[in-house]
Amino acid sequence: MKTLNDLTQGQSARIACYMPKFSAARRLMELGLMPGTTVRFVKAAPLGDPIALEVDGRHLSLRREDAAKITVQAL
């Protein structure tokens, strides 16, 4: 299963679902990372972590550890 963390720079994908028992899931959804939404991997920070995503024209920064708990479908 591919996760948000596996995307490469510039790649887009659709959010599939969240891994169970991921306590931040709710907050991330409230920020627009809803299942079914298309996201684009903008870039990783200079030190490799965190990463920047584009959702609905907004840029969000997210740690890789959390991104790895969100599965995606390639477009």
Binding site: R26, L28, E30, L31, K43, A45, P46, G57, S61
Partner: protein, 729 residues
């Protein structure tokens, strides 16, 4: 008076609108988490007055961090001191309407009348986002007004609509909840003890069932077991209905929003790459990003150092003129003359002279905050902070602390993890606040620049601003690794679009900070200065003057091979000798003064750091506020007769200070190791009463005390190490 609360996501322009409506000057900035406290102002509409409440931004009523808690408490009106608002003025960002309205739908359950202001109307136009306001009104069931708070557009209409809504009390059409949600709320209510069943509104039950919020139960004395039972009963019911209690609310609401709101929004997607992204291609670049950050900081401190020079000279000249003028008026009352010239003008003026630096520093801080770079800096730094159990969230308060630790401590309210928050609070005073700037500039200007040139001076100032962080971080690392063990945090941060700061905002911020600085110099520093002058002036016994005169005459007599009486006569007639005698008397008076005696008693504590008793006096006096060391040194040298005609400048006077006795007699007091030790001491020491008070208020007095003891001890040890190592080189 009617109460109107401003509610919305972070960084949507709530405080900008608050300022528009009330005429006040709440802080605004282009990053999430600027406002962390509830702030109240008054709006006049027609012939009436309403209370406007500015709240922190939040994405959801499921509060994670203290600033979000403030919002929920304000809306539920559960706190004794905070009453429920009569109207919620919801501020949505037009460029991200659907996500913004999620919070509005959540709030609808609270049953408070609502008006929706769609802000950033100008940005939406630029991005070719068209919003059908009439359709939106219909879908939401409440008045909707497009505005641009930053340009004060649409404010008159908004006021009219709000005034009407205070009468008609429109409610946002609630989302339709499936059966199982209603059942869950009933189940939760049924599981509550009889006494509170009636008190628990649907809104309260919503919050308890969906995000296990226990604040209502705690406030009404429901036992933890009973509270858990109620929450579990509700969540069980959701589960039975095929919903995941953890995110049911989010999923259901988003579905509703999509259905109702999406038809009102039309986005022209032909424009792809945004301006912000091209700026970010440099500022958060893989390689250049970190260099750009350091480069920016370097430019800031180099400019603070080099641009201010001419203005400082001007203020210094003004100070000299005032001293001469006032001195000549008061020539008949020597004590008053001394208080006015050596005490007040010298002490306050010595601090006042650093106004240009403060203005330049705030010019840059405002640029950082208003352009949108702040959130990018947090993005760059998150990884470094994660090694210590912190996150990029901690970086924003720490960067704010470069202006002042007090707003920095407050800004930690956006941090969810309590331990991470406390660590960040304790770190904040290690950041080099603007009150330390005068100390560095004085020392660097007097000793580094003359020996090494302006470039090194600027670089030293830059370096001094990292001393606190670099010294403190290893402690945080160890504390986290062995004691606190902060669990890994989720770091999600929204990055605002870049914008060009408005000249007016920048000037206003500089003006306000300048005013604050001058006011502080005119009140706090002024008062402390008088006390210090008095402690350095009294007791002034005649005996001191007599014994110094006798000693001096005796010395002169033996040197010239004349009788004592003859030497005394010579002292009367020879102007140069008389001058020298006067200075010795002045210096003896200062040494014999109350503060002089204290300084001499305490000096051994600082002897290992190379401080003489005068520096020691300065250090002791500056515990209430750091800048006081400058006024104190000014007064000591001025009272002590060290200031002669040509060199009124404090920097020159300091450069001429020599050890009077001991093994180092005749050598300059201020050597590079001593100056470095002083700067490091000030970089690390907790010399700010106000910061200790804020830390105590935001945590508990134990942390305030800890901060004081820890930082002061650390500063003392570090000053000694710097001096000792520096002397070996």
């Amino acid at each position: 008076m009617v109460r109107i609360a401003l509610l919305g996501n972070p960084n949507t322009g709530k405080s900008t609108l608050f300022n528009c409506l009330t005429g006040l000057r709440q802080k605004v900035g282009n990053y999430p988490g600027v406002t962390v406290q509830r702030k109240v102002g008054r709006m006049i509409y027609g012939k009436n007055i309403a209370e406007i409440i500015d709240l922190p931004g939040t994405y959801s009523l499921a509060a994670d961090s203290p600033d979000e808690r403030v919002v929920v408490d304000a809306l539920l009106g559960e706190m004794e001191t905070v009453e429920r608002p009569d109207l919620v003025l919801f501020i949505a960002d037009a460029t991200n309407l659907q996500r913004n309205l999620f919070l509005a739908y959540q709030t609808a359950q609270l049953g408070i009348p609502m008006v929706v202001a769609v802000n950033h109307w100008d940005s939406a136009r630029k991005k070719n986002i068209r919003i059908d306001i009439a359709g939106l009104k219909q879908a939401l069931g409440v008045p909707v007004v497009p505005i641009s708070a930053a340009r004060a557009e649409g404010i008159t209409e908004l006021k009219e609509v709000v005034a009407a809504a205070l009468v008609s009390k429109p409610h946002l059409i609630e989302a339709k909840w499936p059966e199982s949600v209603e059942k869950a709320l009933d189940a939760a209510r049924a599981a509550l003890p009889e006494s509170v069943r009636g008190l628990a509104s649907r809104a309260v039950l919503h919050r308890s069932v969906f995000d296990e919020d226990r604040s209502f139960f705690v406030r009404h004395g429901v036992s933890p077991q009973q509270a858990s039972a109620a929450i579990d009963a509700g969540r069980q019911m959701l589960f039975k209905g095929g919903l995941n209690p953890g995110n049911a609310e989010t999923v259901l609401l988003y579905r509703e929003i999509k259905e109702r709101i999406a038809p009102c929004i039309e986005i022209d997607t032909t424009r792809s790459s945004s301006g912000s992204e091209s700026i970010d291609s440099i500022l958060t670049h893989k390689v250049w990003g970190l260099f750009a950050f350091l480069g920016l900081m370097y430019v800031v401190f180099q400019s603070v150092y080099s641009w201010a020079g001419p203005f400082m000279d001007l203020i210094d000249a003004g100070k000299g003129m005032i001293q001469d003028q006032v001195g000549s008026w008061l020539v008949q009352w020597p004590m008053l003359q001394s208080l006015a010239t050596d005490g007040i003008v010298e002490g306050v003026g010595a601090v006042f002279i650093f106004l240009p630096q403060i203005l330049i520093l705030f010019f840059f801080i405002t640029l950082l905050e208003d352009t949108g770079y702040m959130a990018r800096a947090a993005f760059l730094m998150d990884k470094l902070f994660s090694w210590c159990g912190l996150s990029g969230k901690s970086f924003v308060p720490l960067l704010s602390s470069y202006a002042c630790a007090i707003p920095g401590v407050m800004a930690t309210r956006t941090i969810q993890d309590p331990k991470a928050r406390i660590i960040t609070i304790l770190l904040a005073p290690f950041m080099s606040c603007s009150a330390r700037l005068p100390v560095y500039v004085l020392m660097i200007g007097a000793f580094i620049e003359p020996s090494y040139g302006a470039a090194v001076a600027g670089a030293t100032l830059f370096a001094m601003h990292f001393v606190g962080l670099l010294v403190a971080m290893p402690f945080v690392y160890v504390a986290n690794k062995y004691i606190l063990k902060i669990p890994p945090q989720t770091f999600v941060l929204e990055m605002p679009s870049y914008q060009v700061p408005k000249v007016r905002d920048v000037l206003l911020r500089m003006y306000n900070q300048g005013k604050e600085f001058v006011k502080n110099a005119g009140t706090v520093i002024f008062a402390i200065t008088i006390v210090i002058w008095a402690l350095l002036y009294f007791p002034r016994s005649e005996e001191v003057a007599e014994s110094v005169t006798a000693d001096f005459a005796a010395a002169q007599a033996s040197e010239l091979g004349v009788e004592q009486a003859e030497a005394l006569a010579l002292l009367e007639s020879d102007e140069e000798l008389a001058d020298a005698l006067d200075r010795r008397i002045a210096s003896a008076y200062v040494e014999q003064s109350y503060l002089g005696r204290i300084g001499k008693t305490v000096q051994p504590v600082f002897a290992w750091a190379g401080f003489d008793w005068k520096i020691t006096v300065g250090v002791i006096a500056s515990f209430p506020a750091r800048e006081v060391i400058i006024s104190t040194l000014g007064i000591i040298y001025s009272l002590g007769g060290d200031v002669d005609e040509e060199s009124g400048d404090l920097r020159d006077v300091m450069a001429n200070q020599k050890w009077q006795e001991g093994e180092k007699a005749g050598q300059p007091i201020f050597t590079i190791p001593v100056v470095s030790a002083i700067m490091v001491f000030f970089a690390l020491c907790q010399q700010c009463g106000a910061t200790v008070a804020v830390i105590s208020q935001e945590t508990s007095w134990r942390y305030g005390l800890f901060s004081f003891v820890f930082m002061t001890t650390l500063a003392w040890i570090a000053a000694i190490v710097v001096y000792q190592v520096g002397s070996l080189l």
